[in-house]
Symmetry: C2
Subunit: 390 residues, 2 copies
């Protein structure tokens, strides 16, 4: 392998694929990035892969001799990041020893790598069910749901986000058992979605659950893009591949039947309040300072006479507090209690000015909805049962 490339491009590519390098690798080679230089295409390809999540990208390079090697991601990344951007970077690997020679302005580094043969192959499925998804829509769907997935590895499927493709719409859902976020994007998919369907599966109705960790990287990657590009998704053999421009993200899927969350959402509500979202967030954040000291519980009681809701906290020995904010009421008066963190998470995922809080009994699920928002967002929260004085 022998090539010269731009420091800035190499640095960007390394930062990108390093996100898929395991921090605690189960095998030494998984701490490395794979570099593959191709004389024919004049490109240097970089791959990071922790066996679950894989990221691959490439950059143009003056390749004098093709070749492949793996190098320690952190070390190689740190040195490249600190190199001068004025001078191109030269990389030489003679194949005899697993060592690369890196040269830039005034500096010369020899780094020990491992053979490219030891690097696991990226599951680049380009068969099975496939979709073309609008990048912006995918980012919105992920941002609106990722936060609600479980962080408890024992909860398996719930550590992921469930993506359903139906006609031209994309639906994302995540729940940790205490709250559920569902976001439906119409017209998120391109209508020529039947590109490649080996299994003659009905493409217009397909669902998959993907690990939140992988999707966070997908979201981060796509949100940096400037264009309104389309992303191609391939789903096959327990793997999903996101393909866009010269970047590829692969992720294993979470196997199993995702809970039928639609049945959790009540069909009707006996009461609702409309609130200014930012005012509600500010008040809850002050109340949360005390709630976090005790059990995170806040009570919400409607004060119909003053057209306010009273948000209160009793952190016992530490102190207590209450906030009063204007509200528009529909139906009966409300007395309900929540984990303040769950409510705040949902409010921050919404971007409308006003929100609607709908509920029935103090023990049945409540939902938060954005008002006048183009997004089909529903956030369900289970209330906390407490003694509520009226």
């Amino acid at each position: 392998m022998k090539l010269v490339c731009s420091q800035a491009e190499l640095n960007n590519a390394l930062q990108l694929v390093s996100r898929a390098v395991a921090s605690r690798p189960t095998h030494p080679v998984l701490a490395n990035v794979l570099l593959t230089a191709d004389e024919g295409t004049g490109r240097l390809s970089l791959t990071g892969f922790d066996l679950n999540l894989g990221i691959q990208t490439s950059l143009s390079a003056s390749v004098e001799k093709s070749g492949a090697i793996t190098l320690p991601a952190r070390l190689f990344g740190e040195i490249v990041a600190k190199l001068s951007s004025d001078t191109p970077v030269s990389l030489v690997f003679d194949g005899d020893r697993e060592q690369i020679d890196l040269r830039s302005k005034g500096g010369s580094y020899q780094m020990r790598g491992m053979s490219a043969d030891e690097f696991p192959e990226l599951p680049l499925v380009e068969s099975g069910t496939s979709f073309k998804v609008n990048a912006k829509a995918l980012v919105q769907a992920l941002r609106g749901t990722l936060f609600a997935s479980s962080t408890d590895e024992a909860k398996q499927l719930l550590t992921g986000v469930h993506l359903s493709f139906d006609g031209m719409s994309l639906k994302a859902a995540a729940t940790d058992g205490h709250r559920l976020a569902v976001l439906k994007m119409e017209n998120a998919l391109q209508n020529d979605n039947l590109i490649n369907d080996d299994d003659s599966q009905n493409n217009s109705n397909f669902a998959v659950t993907l690990p939140s960790r992988s999707l966070r990287e997908v979201e981060r990657l796509i949100s940096n893009w400037k264009t309104d590009d389309l992303i191609t998704l391939f789903c096959d053999k327990g793997q999903v591949v996101f393909l866009a421009a010269d970047q590829v993200v692969t992720s294993r899927t979470l196997e199993g039947v995702y809970p039928n969350y639609n049945q959790l959402i009540p069909e009707s509500f006996s009461k609702s309040i409309t609130l200014d979202r930012k005012t509600f967030i500010s008040s809850l954040e002050r109340i949360a300072v005390l709630a976090d000291q005790h059990n995170n519980v806040v009570k919400i009681i409607s004060d119909v006479s003053t057209e306010n809701i009273i948000i209160s906290v009793d952190a016992q020995d530490v102190g207590s507090g209450s906030e009063s904010i204007p509200a528009k009421f529909e139906g009966e008066s409300i007395q309900i209690a929540f984990n303040v963190r769950y409510i705040l998470d949902g409010l921050k995922a919404i971007d409308s000015d006003e929100i609607k809080l709908c509920c029935n009994a103090p023990t049945t699920p409540a939902i938060l909805l954005p008002l006048n928002s183009p997004l089909g967002f529903t956030y369900l929260v289970m209330p906390v049962q407490v003694r509520l004085e009226s």
Copy 2:
């Protein structure tokens, strides 16, 4: 106690004094800030004190009733920080229960405090030896030396910075046993320094060692000031008080005889090299990526023929590297090795374009000096003994 004050001013004052509140208090009251409202002066005074470091400040308030209470610093600080800045904050403490009532726009909080009587008295000595120091000069002296003090609590005196006052000059020094930073500021003191000398001590020649932790807070505090103010220092009974505007910082002193560091600095050098500081830092930072993987050691060897120095690292199994940078030589050729972190710390404390590295043998102290700098800065580093191939 009953008062109304500005949210912004209360918040700033709380953030400030909270820096002196112990994170792991030895007594519950030390997790609190002391609030003292005075009807006569119309001021609310706030104090944080961890028995070593104390910070006191005050703000104007409409005080309806004088009084004092202590409140949990973190909790009170977090709530005040999140209050609306549009509305004044009202604080009421009726004296019967140790509980304060805080009100702002729409919100009302009751917080449990502790009696002001339990709060230890701040050692506000305003006697003994005193100096008027230029604030900017004090900040520079601290910035140039604090980093070189020891973080090892067992090293007692070396965990502090030694300040010497001599005539109109201020000298700061810190060492951890491996390196020593000395900064001398001429004209840093005002010449009417004999304000108050109870012990008839010779004010024109005085020295004290103060804990780095306290001095970091002093530096942080003063560096936020815009004016070129004078700070008054009082030293007495193992305490130092920094007095400026409406802010007071108190610190205990470190007792004992500080090492006579002047005798460590060689009087003459057989060789020296002049280097561009930023180029030297960039090269060392790349070399450090590999050096940090092994033993932090970098070798510096002069290459007189090309008028360069070669900085090299051998991190054994990980890799190796070398950088070549232009240098101006005086005297014999240099072969010496250092802990790269010590050299980088010193170079970053200097702000001149060029620096001079002076040394004798590979086993005797070397020094770094700024060139064309108004600051009298000397940084001494002990070399590391390694096998040096020429």
